[in-house]
Each structure stands twice: as C-alpha cells, then as structure tokens.
C-alpha cells in the first residue's frame, strides 16, 4: 500500500467504517511501517484530543432570559397557528383591494349593446387616398372667392 491509498481510506479507517478485512490489514501494516503516515495519524489523534479538551463555551447567564423574552415576543406576533403574519396581512389586503376594483369596474362600465341584431357599418378603407374632398359650394364667399383663397394659400392641407 502506498501513502495516497492510506490517506484516501484514512477516514473510514479512523471511524471504524472500513469493513473489508484485507484493506483493514493493509492499512494497519502500512501504519506500522510508514513514519510519514504515523506522523499524520498522531497529529490527528493528538490534535483532536486537544480540541475535545478545550473548555466548552457556556451560554451567558442572560441567554435563557433573552430567549424567553424573544419567545414571548414571537408568540404574540408571529405564531403561525394563531394570528396572521404581517406579510400575510399585506397580501390579503392587496388581494381584497384588487377584487373590489374588479367588481367596481364591472358594475360601473356602461353596458354595450349585444352584438346580435345591431350591425354597425364599418369605416370604408381607402386604398389610395387623395386630397380630401372640399366642397366649394359650402364655403362662404362663393366659388370665386374660395378659388382665390386657395390660390393664395400655401396650406398643404388643401393642396392637391
């Protein structure tokens, strides 16, 4: 067995998960023979021992009190089984407003005549539009006056 093989299976070996007896024997033999892997194994063993021996962090005396206060706050404001959360209230309000607007819109809009029986003529589509028709007779000042105004005007609106 080479060192990389040993290192690859080291966690299973250390945690007693290496069930294959052949591999287990080879690991043990390699550990006996290889100073590099012995050093590695000792570092893990001793390091973890020191780590486990470190003084554990203790919760401060105020921990429980603060937790109780936070739980009491939470119980009054954010109990999922009791009152609704603020987000849910906002969403519900928005939905209610939207529904009201939709209903109002439906009621307030003037009724359209039913399609059956009321035919409306569609606008005629002019394929080649020309100058708008101008009734000379309708304009004040007679035909001559209008022609004179037309001749003197530079308006494009009535130009051919």
């Amino acid at each position: 067995m080479r060192c990389p093989d040993f290192l690859e299976r080291y966690s299973d070996f250390r945690d007693g998960r290496l069930t294959d007896r052949v591999w287990l024997q080879q690991m043990q033999q390699h550990l006996k023979a290889c100073p590099h892997c012995q050093r590695f194994h000792a570092a893990i063993r001793e390091g973890v021992e020191v780590l486990r021996g470190l003084e554990p962090a203790e919760p401060t005396p105020a921990f429980r009190q603060a937790l109780r206060a936070r739980l009491a706050d939470g119980a009054s404001s954010a109990d999922p089984r009791g009152a609704l959360a603020p987000g849910a209230i906002a969403v519900a309000t928005l939905l209610a407003v939207a529904a009201t607007l939709l209903i109002y819109e439906g009621l307030a809009r003037p009724r359209r005549p039913s399609l059956a029986g009321s035919r409306q003529s569609l606008p005629v589509v002019i394929v080649n539009p020309s100058a708008p028709f101008v009734s000379f007779a309708a304009a004040g000042g007679g035909q001559q006056g209008l022609l004179a105004r037309w001749a003197s005007s530079d308006s494009e609106a009535i130009a051919p």
Binding site: S11, D15, A42, V50, L54, A57, P59, R64, L71
Partner: protein, 211 residues
Amino acid sequence: MSTVTGTQRTSPSRAAPRTLGELDDSAVVAAHLGGHPEAFEELVERYQKRLLNFVYRTIGDRERAEDLVQEVFIRVHRHLHRFDQSKKFSTWIYTIASNLAKNELRNRSRNPLVLFQAMKRSWEADHRPLQFEDPHHRPDDLFRKRHLKDLVEWAVAQLPPHHREVFVLRELEGKSYEDIAEITHCHLGTVKSRLNRARNRFAQIIAPHLD
C-alpha cells in the same frame, strides 16, 4: 422538576409519571406538543451548550453564536408542530443550526464590516489577563499545552467553512456520517471526502508543532 404522563412514546405501559429529564428527545417533543410548555425548557437545557459550541466552532464568533443559538430555539418553538416525529430530533435541530451558521458565514463574506468586527473581537480576546495555572506542571509543559490549544483552535478556524462544519460535527459532536449528510444536505460520499480533506489539512497545520 415537572412530571409528564400519557405523552411518553418510550414506555406507554408505565403508568407512573416520569420527570422530563428521564425522557428521550422524541418523548419530550411529544410532551411539548401535548400541552406541556415546560418540555421546551428541557429541550433548551439539553441542546443550548452543544449547539453553542457547534455554532461557535463553525463561525468563530462567540457572541454571534449565542444570538444564532437563540434563533435556533425560536425556530424550533415556532415549527415544532411540523417536525416529523419519526425522525431524530437532534438531527433536525442541528440542521437548523447548520443552516443559520452557513447563512452567517455567507453574509459575513459579503459584508467586510462584519468580518472586521469578528476579527477584532477575537484579536481582543488574546489580550485577556494572564491566569495562574496548576503549579505542579513544569513551565515547559504549560507553555506547550497552551500553545497547542491555541494552535488547534486556529487550525480548525483555517479549514474552509464546509470542511470545518463536517469536521466539527464528526470530531466534536460525534455525529455519524449519515447524520452529517442529513444535517449538511450532502451525499454520504461528499461527507467522506470533506472529512478526509479537513483531516488532512488539520494534520498538515499541527503536525510540525507536535514534533
């Protein structure tokens, strides 16, 4: 100490009331859900120190770790009715703690000010007053011991967060690979490879100082 009857899942045939401290986690959970609010206190008592150390070792900030552990208990209290009682309570509560610790590390990496404050706090801890130690030990031993402790703590802090989490869960909390996989939402193979890498790195850091 309060007593509970009727809600125990462990020994329903036993009629005599038992103290909460005698019940296993699932029975305490059942007691809380069955209307014994004091059962929640028992859960806090059982897990506050373990979770504090787990979160502290994972994020490296003692004060913040305490805030996060409080948050864990608040979430447990809020969602306990949704907890699948066929599963292990300890795995569930560690999963919540692990998620919060990960979020904390993620936020910290995005916010340099928070990172700086955490570094400043741990730097200030080095300036604590000297304490007298056991006079029966030789000064060399004392120095080596203190040096090793600091070194080991530092070595753990040097591991990448997702390796550190697996390492702490295995070596300090003694969790099984399967539980770690569930807590960290990883495959078993990922847990193995992360643990192997964490151990390699840990050994690389401390081995030169053990000779």
